[in-house]
Symmetry: C2
Subunit: 402 residues, 2 copies
């Protein structure tokens, strides 16, 4: 199957017919369909597909199974996410192996295609959960009890999907077999287009944290409670949203509140609580800490001014990632030799490659995003650019697995 055919078959899985965006969440029926699509096509290529202890899938090409070159990405999405984020790397991995097989290449080192689970953290709130479990960055007991908005825990969701949550945990055996991981991903942001470049190579990933802010007030009647008698958590929340933007802008960081839940949620009542999630990223760990501290402090001041309690809990934190320079130089060299000038770019987005970078040499290839929009149904990439991505990935795998 060509890349375009693979892509066409994947497209409807988990897509919301109303918005056109994806709601492909871990351990749901849509997730099972995505795994089946991956398994079917990997097996059609003669690869052997095995789940690891953390629910990630691995499709092996080659017998050795040591010193392997891994590639792949994820299929899960944010709510109403775009079709390319993650999925492009998985489909490109399958298409690149097909391309290499068609030209008669046989890898000296094994090539293995990875399908990571819960990369977005959209269901269980910890991004890159599959790779974090694998490297030991998340405690398995903590992971098992992570619950999404529906109250279902990861352990329950895995069990319901026919997977076994009991063996979750660090997988040094599997990590020990991997010599490198190269993740292809649609560009998020718009740096390649102005450079007239189709493919980019990642420099590193900004440190990134997610914090939950719980503002606790007291429900009351919107028509009778005097302002002086209210403890309305919506007001300090609003102040915090504005403070986060201001602080981040002043520090060259990014800060976003994209999820907020006001309880009890009546249009004619003062809220009893407002829970909201801060996503904050910055070029370095120190600047991220500074930005978070300033936002936290503004939130605490606003909460106190309204007699509202504030609890802030860190849901995830990923330190600055610098990808392996030797691997990166080798990749840019291979691409340059094939006539592709691939600029080196930083990014604020987290990826499984960033998690694995703590343990093995990793690199990332970016495919041009013409609008820069991501995590949105409007996310797009041109087919010709995606096909160029497949060729670039095939070149890299051929070089590394030779």
């Amino acid at each position: 199957m060509t890349f375009a055919e693979l892509w066409q078959e994947l497209a409807p899985i988990g897509r919301d017919p109303g918005t056109g965006g994806y709601r492909r969440y871990s351990w749901t029926p849509a997730d099972a369909q995505g795994r089946a699509w991956f398994t079917r096509h990997a097996e059609a290529l003669g690869l052997s597909v095995e789940p690891d202890r953390n629910g990630n899938l691995w499709a092996w090409w080659g017998e050795t199974r040591t010193g392997a070159i891994a590639t792949g990405s994820h299929l899960d999405s944010v709510p109403d996410g775009g079709g390319y984020d993650g999925a492009l790397g998985v489909a490109s991995a399958l298409a690149a192996v097909k391309m290499l097989k068609d030209k008669g290449f046989y890898p000296e080192r094994a090539v293995v295609l990875a399908l990571f689970t819960e990369e977005e953290g959209a269901r269980f709130r910890v991004p890159c959960l599959g790779s974090r479990l694998m490297t030991g960055a998340v405690d398995p007991d903590t992971a098992r009890s992570l619950a999404g908005d529906d109250g279902v825990t990861l352990a329950e969701a895995m069990t319901a999907a026919g997977a076994d949550p009991v063996r979750l945990g660090p997988d040094d055996d599997l990590l020990g077999r991997l010599a490198a991981f190269v993740e292809l991903h649609v560009e998020q942001g718009r740096a390649l287009a102005p450079l007239d470049a189709v493919i980019g190579v990642a420099e590193g990933i900004w440190p990134h944290g997610r914090w939950r802010f719980d503002f606790g007030g007291r429900a009351d009647h919107a028509g009778t409670a005097r302002f002086a008698d209210r403890n309305d958590p919506m007001l300090p929340y609003a102040s915090t949203v504005l403070a986060a933007r201001q602080v981040a802008a002043a520090n060259g960081a990014l800060a976003t509140f994209g999820k907020v839940i006001a309880e009890p949620g009546g249009a004619n009542g003062v809220s009893s609580s407002v829970r909201a999630w801060l996503d904050c990223r910055a070029p370095g760990g120190e600047s991220l800490d500074q930005a978070f501290t300033a936002i936290h402090s503004a939130a605490a001041d606003a909460a106190a001014a309204h007699g509202v309690t504030l609890t802030v809990s860190k849901e995830s934190y990923t330190p600055l990632v610098r990808f392996d320079e030797t691997l990166r130089d080798r990749i840019t060299g291979v691409l340059a030799a094939a006539g592709t000038d691939a600029p080196v770019l930083p990014t604020g987005a987290g990826h499984d490659a960033g998690i694995l970078a703590a343990r093995i040499p990793t690199a990332m290839l970016f495919v041009r995003n013409p609008t820069g929009v991501s995590h949105s149904p409007a996310e797009e990439a041109h087919l010709a650019d995606c096909e160029a991505g497949v060729r670039a990935l095939a070149l890299v795998l051929e070089d590394l697995a030779r």
Copy 2:
């Protein structure tokens, strides 16, 4: 049955075991249980219970059925509402009839107990929907197609509950039979306690509007989209929350955002839209208009500054209500003669009595709320005060129906 026994039986219906608050929404199973409770006890008193064309229930005492004295309230709640709001008026009406029957009183004019539907607008977003339909203040076709957060329309919900939505509409025949409506309600706010009074009488209801603010932006990746490239609707929403408080405080009005929905709701994404509901009330129609205009203008400015669209739609508007002065003076006179000094109070809360006031003489009795908290699981009233309320209502009904 005594008031306390009636109350005990009603208490568990629609109560959330987790929060202790009520989620008794129209045309749900909890609503059906509430109707059954009302019907059972009214029939035990020998009253004849009939639904009207709009889904309200009426329990008749007396044969004449013209020039009738109506009392009653509602059983539906806001999300996590208190137990007294509405329910106290219904239980007190039943208990007052019991008290009058026990003393051998027989009404010359009919007495009729009303159970209004969807007073809070918690499900279908238009408060006092049952009384508004009855007086013609809401178009029946509009009402039938009102949908809650679950997408179910009023027509569908009524049909599912075994009621007929086809006959919704103005009910001049029924209104023509009513000489007066007296609604007993738990006090919302805390004016009686400092006056050492147990029972109050309503002066009027502040005009009250509910508006939906739709901020439309563009979903994007929280880790890669530059601030300059974003159209994040959360920011103008936050500005509007703060502006609403400021404007209302400066104008002696009340303004509240208690319900907000951010889509798609991912913690690592910029929102595509933020929908939020403004509840605004003021002592007069002009001051309410001024407050709303200023809030709308602040929202529009903030939206424009972020390249975000703004659509504001009025979901409900209730003009200033002045209750009938003759009826009010008669009630305070009856209570004073019985040794109860009942202060006259204004209120910001809407009630079915406020809707019916446009067509027939109406009045309200308030029962002391020791904390002033309402629309909250913390709402309370002392049993002795509730019993005093029943006695006061019985005195008033006896006087009016004699």
